[in-house]
């Protein structure tokens, strides 16, 4: 061993586990489930990944409202495929979360008891078919902006799940935009329906990217751990900048009189977001919070006999095999 190597070894030993961990993250190394990690890293990841998983699952409910009333077989097949993907994405994320040492039952319990949150946007009702277009275009559009940087996040299982999610989701936004485009090229009534959906979904979509940087309590730590690569405000600006021209092509307008292109900054300026509404919805007072939770809890409770029956069947088969072998 050279003198320099000996020195390096001693330096390693004198550093705490936490310093070594932080240095690994700083070097862009990935953390895997069996690696040592600070308890706060584990807890923060459980919180964020499970919140993400819950959002996928609860997010199926507003769209489920329109499966039986989709205007054509083509639209129905697409909507079903999208919702099916969301169930799958919930599963990838729950599984990634479970590698951190929490069980699926605990995760569900946190959702059902209200301890865990899910994206506030799914607490708004879907009252017309155009809402299916607006959700795909805006809600999935905002979700993609949020999710693409996560493909690079420091926790290996989360990053790998996000790669798959982003790849599969690329059709979700396009199918939504196609619905909007069809409505906007249709009758006056159809176009008005598209405009109405945009009016109702625009602001909640902006809120979906999270509180402003000044208000966001988790941002700083999450940035350090590369659980977040861009701040909420940066993501929001990016979303607005790329979505406004898409509305122009549709020929409908954002419900924001203050929205205008700023030559100097190279971004759109926009009006003030009603954060009071956001916090009300987060705290459980949105238009559909109770309905969504009731639907999830009922699905869990009413499905109990199915889960039990499957286990009983498996046990019976296993016993049969043992009986045959002996």
């Amino acid at each position: 061993m050279s003198e320099k190597e000996v020195k390096n070894t001693w330096a390693e030993r004198s550093r705490s586990l936490e310093e070594i961990f932080e240095a690994r993250i700083a070097r862009d190394e990935k953390i895997e489930p069996k690696d040592w990690m600070p308890e706060k890293y584990r807890q923060t990841h459980i919180r964020q990944i499970s919140q993400h998983a819950h959002s996928e699952v609860v997010g199926m409910l507003p769209e489920g409202n329109w499966i039986t009333r989709a205007p054509s077989l083509r639209r129905k097949a697409a909507l079903l495929a999208k919702i099916q993907d969301e169930a799958g994405h919930g599963l990838y994320l729950y599984s990634a979360c479970e590698t951190l040492g929490i069980s699926r039952d605990e995760l569900y319990e946190q959702l059902h008891s209200g301890k865990a949150k899910y994206s506030s946007i799914f607490n708004y009702p879907t009252i017309t078919w155009a809402d299916m277009g607006a959700i795909g275009w805006l809600v999935d559009g905002a979700a993609i902006i949020n999710q693409v940087p996560l493909c690079n996040t420091s926790f290996g299982p989360y990053a790998r799940a996000m790669v798959r999610v982003c790849k599969e989701e690329s059709f979700h936004q396009r199918q939504g935009y196609e619905i909007m485009l069809t409505l906007c090229r249709g009758s006056e009534e159809q176009k008005a329906m598209a405009q109405d959906a945009l009016n109702r979904w625009w602001w909640p979509s902006l809120m979906m990217l999270g509180p402003t940087d000044a208000e966001s309590v988790h941002t700083e730590q999450s940035m350090k751990w590369k659980l977040k690569r861009k701040s909420n405000d940066e993501l929001r600006q990016q979303f607005i900048d790329q979505t406004v021209p898409q509305a122009d092509i549709l020929g409908i307008t954002m419900p924001d009189p203050d929205l205008k292109w700023n030559e100097k900054t190279g971004h759109y300026d926009f009006g003030e977001i009603d954060w009071e509404e956001f916090w009300q919805v987060v705290k459980g007072h949105g238009p559909c919070n109770k309905e969504r939770m009731t639907a999830r809890i009922n699905a869990w409770n009413n499905g109990e006999w199915v889960r039990d029956a499957a286990m009983a069947h498996a046990e019976k088969n296993a016993n049969k095999k043992v009986a045959k072998a002996s």
Partner: protein, 97 residues
């Protein structure tokens, strides 16, 4: 002559080549138990630093699909073109989608 002992079972070996990547199937080997399978996997499959993590799974615990049934198994996905982004027609001027 003693009675022939049971054959060592077969184990499937999965190696993560570096953090951030998934474990991939590298091959298999025979070993008396999981601990021996792990040591042998290290010596057989990671002699040149090919990995940072190893999983060993006894082969009999893997349920594999039957290639002879690939027709019924994978056919349902074949006619669902609407699961792909290219199925949706958007004008060329729409960006970032």
């Amino acid at each position: 002559m003693s009675v022939k002992k049971k054959n060592w079972p077969l184990w499937e070996i999965f190696v993560r080549s570096k953090n951030g990547l998934e474990h991939r199937h590298f091959g298999s080997l025979h070993a008396a138990d999981a601990e021996m399978a792990m040591e042998n996997a290290r010596d057989v499959y990671t002699r040149r630093n090919e990995g940072v993590s190893i999983w060993v799974v006894e082969s009999k615990n893997i349920t594999a699909s039957n290639p002879a049934e690939n027709g019924e198994m994978f056919e349902p996905a074949q006619d669902k073109v609407y699961r792909h982004p290219t199925f949706y027609h958007l004008p060329d001027e729409v960006k970032h989608m």
